[in-house]
Symmetry: C2
């Protein structure tokens, strides 16, 4: 600060060069760790950098080199636990290697507004650097599809139906396996079948969680009820729960996430059904509060933060042209059996 209150222009490589008695190209070499600098010269430059508090201007770096040590995360939402955790994981990994992280929220989760999604993708592309698209919902899937070829991008996606080719830089958690495990847990308790309240799938096809649930039912020879369409939040779970509560044959309900499960439990309570006495309920994600609900919620923990870190690692590999990192890191889901699941009535 000078006396007028304006920020002092920070030192440039030319200032450092003058102070160190070298040309500014040499300064550039030092800050880029070029091996061809005499140690004594390097030391003088380093001392000048330190003395002047020089920090390399990232804007100039980006313009001159065409690379911009930055990643933009495109997501439909920042408040849902899973999305927010992925973002946190990305930021953590990015910070470790001095990358900036930007956020772009996709306007409409139902992807009705195609133009808005495309606009966000263009903005992100303009920002330079790489792109990570959270493609759990229609808007995200559309955004991923709208990324122009040639732009470095990683998609955080639902478990693909079949292993994608090597040209698909995607990461995911094994939702199918997770759904399979919870469903088997509920069936093992003695339930005749398990009903399912689905989160909106990212595509028109059946979602990965739905697939895993169905697989478990089929292997057990259990009846296969139609999934109930939910939304992302507790309100959708509540509505679905009220519908399911009308059917006295329903004794076990798997929900596409913990918020839905919470809404379902509320609906069951309102209609006088006890959990887990009359109906067992299980969720997905292990949100922070799920262990403290009454009853505490049986769920599957997915490592979203780790998923975010993996997404960034993959992108970083692409951007830095390093050896292609293992393209499809998959974290293992963990079943957490709590109070909300138990044997069906009459089998206690």
């Amino acid at each position: 600060m000078n006396v007028t209150g304006h920020t002092r222009r920070s030192a440039s490589i030319r200032d450092v060069a003058t102070a160190a008695g070298v040309s500014y190209q040499t300064v550039s070499r030092v800050i880029n760790d070029s091996p061809s600098v005499k140690p004594s010269t390097r030391d003088r430059v380093l001392a000048a950098i330190d003395e002047l508090g020089f920090r390399r201007n990232s804007t100039a770096l980006a313009l001159a080199s065409g690379r911009s040590r930055a990643v933009t995360v495109l997501t439909s939402n920042t408040t849902h636990y899973g999305y927010a955790s992925i973002l946190q994981g990305i930021e953590e990994a990015a910070r470790a290697v001095s990358y900036d992280v930007g956020v772009g929220v996709l306007e409409s989760a139902d992807a009705a507004d195609e133009a808005a999604v495309a606009a966000q993708v263009r903005r992100a592309a303009d920002a330079g650097g790489g792109l990570i698209v959270i493609a759990y919902d229609p808007a995200g899937v559309r955004a991923l599809g709208a990324v122009p070829a040639g732009l470095p991008v990683v998609g955080v996606v639902e478990t693909p139906a079949s292993p994608p080719g090597g040209d698909r830089p995607w990461v995911w958690t094994d939702d199918r396996e997770a759904a399979y495990e919870v469903t088997r847990h509920l069936l093992a308790l003695g339930h005749e079948t398990v009903h399912y309240v689905a989160i909106p799938s990212s595509t028109r096809r059946t979602g990965a969680r739905t697939t895993g649930w169905l697989q478990a039912l089929r292997e057990a020879g259990a009846p296969e009820p139609r999934p109930v369409q939910g939304s992302w939040g507790p309100a959708g779970g509540h509505a679905a729960g009220l519908r399911l509560a009308k059917d006295p044959g329903v004794t076990a309900i798997l929900c596409g996430n913990d918020d839905l499960a919470l809404g379902v439990i509320r609906a069951l309570h309102e209609t006088g059904r006890t959990v887990p006495g009359e109906v067992s309920v299980a969720g997905f994600d292990d949100a922070p509060h799920s262990a403290y609900l009454t009853p505490s919620l049986t769920t599957v923990r997915l490592d979203f933060t780790g998923l975010g870190r993996s997404a960034f690692a993959l992108l970083h590999g692409v951007l830095e042209d390093s050896a292609p990192i293992a393209p499809h890191p998959v974290s293992v889901p963990e079943l957490l059996v709590r109070e909300s699941s138990g044997p069906p009535p009459g089998r206690r």
Copy 2:
């Protein structure tokens, strides 16, 4: 895309100039809405821009002009509901005026790691543009304090004890008023007093929520129990709830946020106390699931998204040198009375 799979260099203002038959300075004038361009010239340039798909390079803009239509949000966390909602509000407002938004997570919420906080502030400053610091916790407060003078910054803070001077570009929700209202609600139900489980305060001094709670107790001539220190999450609420449950005189508990309240309710349940039959519990924030808990949670809704929009509006005013926007927008908290609060035992 060309056949080799590389992205085609996008059009520059020189390309547009050539196509339109003008100099590139004229193109610059057109994209900057300069009034001194002949309409017919403008039309030709606009046509060329459209045809070539020209998009202004924001990096070059930033380097040449020294301004960077960008804001970096510094926060301790992206997953807590309040923090995430503020971020969402900022992004929404920023997008409306084509600003990029970056995110920096402050390493340690307890601000023990002073160096890490300072490093994040430097990084954010290097990114250019403005800064919004969420200063609800010690790390955020420290970050806000570490911002070098001259850098455009807006702080999202707890309700200040006294109205700050005009040189403090701060925004807040009226937490004190909110706490005051919930406490009065509980007292009006007939409770002798209201206990308080506090969120960590941003400073060593008493937090705004604590102040509002105390004010209501004093006005009512109610006993003033010591606040119980909680954390941000349900685990802290659970621990605090177990302690409070030991005291049979406790009939009403106000919690610093909904997650704490959820943990408190769980602890009361575990120790055999009914809510609201024996103990009333109220929270703060109106998280999305709070209405669907059993019992549903009495709480105060705070408009975090609106707070984020206000923070950005204030910063935008500073950056664009426009008329100083009303410096301290305050949204009005809304009391939501639900099932978790009722009359004390014996006064039903």
